[in-house]
């Protein structure tokens, strides 16, 4: 089966700044991919290229289409939420449903109504009168009612409180994801999404520094917690990173077996956030 996204040498410069530095990438169908990177790493630039919102160099195919030349066709099968609060504020909820139904051939009004029925959003409200959380719920209801093959979410929960954030991802996973669609998302709150991801992409300085499935992550990366007196032995195994906690030294290792590390202390699979910091620091140095 063809990958949903295939990029080769994807690059973009803003003046002298290199935002994307030759990214090679393949994302197959049916994955939930987290694109994680520090500010200015090229996340949004990459998403914009994929969505045909900006120019780029190199090769890029999304669902077999060229986002530069075939954008309108592409948008029939790709939906995205660029950011919170970009729904037009002068629109009423009912009109937003009417217009999306009038413009999108794969939009199911019944589905959108069903999602909205679970919220407190009134059909006659203006979007400007809704809270930020409600606007996001509405946007999600519109997007989830579109039968798309790829959904791209760029910081979809930025500025939302924890209840809405949890609800957002719960709805996405339970009501939308069906194992065939592909979801590509970025967020700063990595901890909140690591349990729903199937794949992890780290990006730093315009380059992909990690591209692993979550299943493979536990085999490739291990976190070791040692007592201070054994720290020196651990350092000799060339850890990716080291940090100190309550009477323990924590190391993250790449490509070390459990047998190698077990004698030194306790082993677990590192959290995505810690792994991210380790990988990005390593890539930067």
């Amino acid at each position: 089966m063809n990958p949903v996204i295939r990029a080769q040498g994807l690059a973009r410069r803003y003046g002298s700044t290199v935002a994307l530095d030759g990214v090679d990438l393949e994302i197959p169908a049916g994955r939930i991919v987290g694109l994680i990177g520090p500010n200015g790493a090229g996340k949004t630039t990459a998403l914009k290229a994929i969505l045909g919102l900006g120019p780029f160099e190199g090769q890029l195919e999304v669902l077999g289409l060229d986002p530069r030349r075939q954008r309108a066709e592409l948008m029939q099968q790709v939906s995205f939420i660029a950011d919170v609060a970009v729904l037009p504020r002068w629109l009423r909820v009912r009109q937003a449903l009417d217009i999306t139904a009038g413009l999108h051939p794969h939009f199911s009004r019944e589905k959108a109504e069903a999602f909205l029925a679970q919220t407190e959003i009134k059909r006659d409200s203006k979007i400007s009168a809704l809270s930020k959380g409600m606007v996001t719920q509405l946007h999600l209801a519109l997007v989830m009612a579109i039968d798309a093959r790829l959904l791209v979410l760029d910081e979809p929960t930025l500025g939302l409180d924890i209840i809405y954030r949890k609800e957002f991802y719960r709805a996405l996973l339970n009501d939308y994801f069906d194992g065939e669609r592909t979801i590509l998302l970025t967020t700063h709150q990595v901890e909140e999404i690591e349990h729903i991801l199937t794949d992890l992409l780290f990006i730093s300085h315009g380059r992909i520094v990690l591209n692993e499935s979550m299943d493979a992550l536990g085999e490739k990366f291990l976190e070791l917690a040692t007592r201070p007196d054994r720290a020196e032995e651990a350092r000799r195994l060339a850890p990716l990173s080291e940090r100190q906690g309550l009477g323990r030294h924590h190391f993250i290792f790449e490509d070390r077996t459990r047998d190698e590390l077990a004698p030194l202390g306790e082993i677990k699979v590192p959290g995505v956030a810690d792994l991210f910091v380790a990988k990005v620091r390593r890539a930067a140095s």
Binding site: L53, E73, M75, Q76, V86, P88, W90, I99, G102, L103
Partner: protein, 305 residues
């Protein structure tokens, strides 16, 4: 087709002034007609003035039809002028507002091309808003005629009621002609507005006015001529000079105690042949199409988020 209808509807939801401003002017005419009927306002003809009821009795029955046209045409002209300003500001905002409030990212997530979107905005300004204005005119003129006609009937003459539909049809035809002339003549003006609306980061009105103003000043200083200023002036009013005969006038006059009114025949009054044969019309359309294409290109590739 369904998409285009939806896009135009979206524009009319966002820009309610498209029909609200003409409707407000229409309402003023209806109020004025009521005021005239109740004798609050006197209608002036030459140096005399009379109430509408007096005027109705003195009016020659054969000139009731032109009199009604003379009554309807100012309504049409005022509505067209009001609409011209509404459309000006609509185009100014059309591709700017969605960038300013960042809702462009939502619109771009829907499967419509930038050509369709800019096309829908252009159509809203040159077809939907003018059509609504014609609708407002029909309602306004009908009410004014009904109010005046019933008042004259009560004063003893049914002539005004009989002449109404024909005069209304004629006035509407002239108004539609005026609008068509304006749409064709203003292609470069509207194109320029949409181009700037897609381009400017702020101060859209300034970007609209500054380049032509600077060109005029630069030409004056460097060459001492004013060709560009003349071109702009021609662009603003020249179309109407070409499309309407300047020898024919509508009038109401009083002679020997009877009020006479005349209105030129359409064949003499309207000069579509001269308008369509003018090279400056087609040159303007060509420039306008380039501006519109630029607006589409900017909406497609402008990346400022």
């Amino acid at each position: 087709m369904k998409q285009m209808m939806t896009l135009v509807r979206r524009e009319l939801i966002e820009n309610r002034s498209g029909w609200a401003v003409p409707a407000a002017f229409g309402a003023l005419f209806v109020v004025a007609a009521l005021a005239a009927v109740f004798g609050l306002v006197r209608v002036g003809v030459m140096d005399q003035s009379m109430t509408l009821a007096e005027m109705g009795q003195e009016l020659d029955p054969s000139s009731i039809y032109p009199a009604l046209l003379v009554l309807f045409m100012p309504i049409a002209v005022v509505l067209v002028v009001a609409m011209t300003f509404v459309v000006f500001f609509y185009f100014l905002d059309a591709l700017y507002a969605e960038r300013k409030d960042r809702s462009i990212l939502f619109w771009k997530s829907l499967p419509v091309s930038d050509l369709q979107v800019v096309g829908s905005k252009y159509l809203t300004g040159v077809a939907a808003i003018p059509a609504l204005t014609v609708g407002v005119f029909l309602v306004t003129a009908f009410l004014v005629w009904l109010i005046g006609g019933l008042a004259l009937l009560w004063a003893g003459s049914g002539a005004a009621l009989q002449g109404g539909p024909a005069a209304l049809a004629r006035a509407t035809a002239i108004m539609v002609y005026m609008l068509l002339v304006q749409v064709l003549w203003f292609v470069p003006v509207h194109g320029w507005l949409l181009l700037v609306s897609a381009f400017a980061r702020r101060a859209v009105l300034g970007w609209v006015l500054a380049p032509p103003a600077l060109l005029i000043v630069a030409e004056k200083i460097l060459l001492g001529t004013r060709h560009f200023a003349d071109t702009i002036g021609h662009r603003l009013i020249g179309g109407f000079q070409l499309a309407f005969s300047n020898e024919q006038h509508a009038m109401i006059m009083e002679s020997d105690g009877a009020v006479m009114s005349s209105f030129p025949a359409l064949g003499e009054f309207l000069t579509p042949g001269r308008f369509l044969a003018a090279p400056s019309l087609w040159a303007g359309i060509a420039v306008g199409v380039v501006f519109l294409a630029g607006a589409v290109w900017l909406r497609r590739w402008r990346d400022e988020s």
